[in-house]
């Protein structure tokens, strides 16, 4: 394990930034193009994970464990968010018999 991680020193930090930017953007595209509420939720999870990975990379880069503690808190928050969000989706499905978010367009007014 230590052998592997010492060899990892060659990856530049900006490649991590590009990877996380790409995955974050994929999440944004998913939110913009899908209408299924659960898939939109999963795209939000993708965005959260991209940020988590970037926080970890910067934490390793600056040798500061606070970044990894933040990631831990974000994971706890994501778990809470998923539980409440899925409960809301189940309730929406029970009332409208669909999880198409366009059914909810009355929320705009």
């Amino acid at each position: 394990m230590e052998n592997l991680t010492t060899q990892m020193a060659g990856v530049p930090l900006n490649h991590y930034i590009y990877l996380c930017a790409i995955i974050f953007t994929i999440g944004v595209i998913g939110v913009l193009t899908r209408r299924n509420a659960i898939v939109i939720f999963m795209s939000v999870e993708l965005m959260l994970n991209a940020v988590n990975l970037l926080l970890t990379a910067f934490s390793v880069h600056s040798n500061d464990p606070s970044g990894q503690v933040f990631v831990f808190f974000i994971m706890a928050l994501a778990a809470a968010e998923v539980a409440v969000g899925l409960a809301i989706i189940v309730m929406v499905y029970r009332n409208t018999k669909s999880i198409d978010i366009n059914v909810l367009n009355r929320l705009k007014w």
Binding site: M8, L13, V60, Q68, A76, L86, A87, S98
Partner: protein, 167 residues
């Protein structure tokens, strides 16, 4: 050699996350999302953040994905009930995403942070080090997050309970 492991896993995570948003069947989306999270776990291991790797494995791939799959199967969704957006909206969404990535990459290029990632302290991401941090300076947020989880649990039960009085 092992920098190539990073590029290989990074390619896999991009491919799988693309499959998440372009798969027609929501069940397939969830399965691809599990694979994406697995590649993220590998990234954490490569960064020697072993605590986060284990937590990511248990919380995301274990708990959250089971919750997603469970709800999907409870709602009995499949390809036929899948709502589709008009192609115009899809194209506009993809173009907007491409604009976002161009902007982000351009600004990062201007910042030009290309120092290689060096792990100075081998024990940085281990449980011992993170536990000291978590129960030291971050004790109050840690306790508050337990309150958050309790509130989320109560809220989820309350939201998904049938309203017996009105019905």
């Amino acid at each position: 050699m092992s920098t190539q492991v990073f590029y290989f896993v990074a390619t896999l995570s991009i491919i799988f996350s693309l499959m998440v948003i372009f798969a027609k069947n929501p069940i397939h989306s969830v399965l691809y999302l599990i694979l994406t999270f697995f590649t993220f776990t590998v990234h954490y291991v490569l960064l020697n953040a072993q605590f986060l790797a284990v937590v990511n494995f248990i919380v995301y791939m274990g708990a959250i994905m089971v919750l997603f799959l469970f709800v999907l199967m409870l709602l009995n969704l499949n390809k036929e009930t899948e709502p589709v957006k008009s192609p115009l909206i899809k194209i506009v969404g993809v173009i907007a995403g491409c604009c976002l990535i161009v902007t982000l990459v351009g600004s990062f290029k201007a910042a030009s942070i290309n120092s290689p990632l060096i792990l100075k302290n081998q024990g940085l991401g281990l449980v011992e080090n993170l536990g000291k941090e978590l129960f030291g300076p971050f004790l109050l947020p840690f306790e508050l997050s337990s309150l958050l989880l309790l509130a989320a649990m109560v809220g989820a039960v309350l939201l998904s309970k049938r309203d017996e009085v009105e019905a």
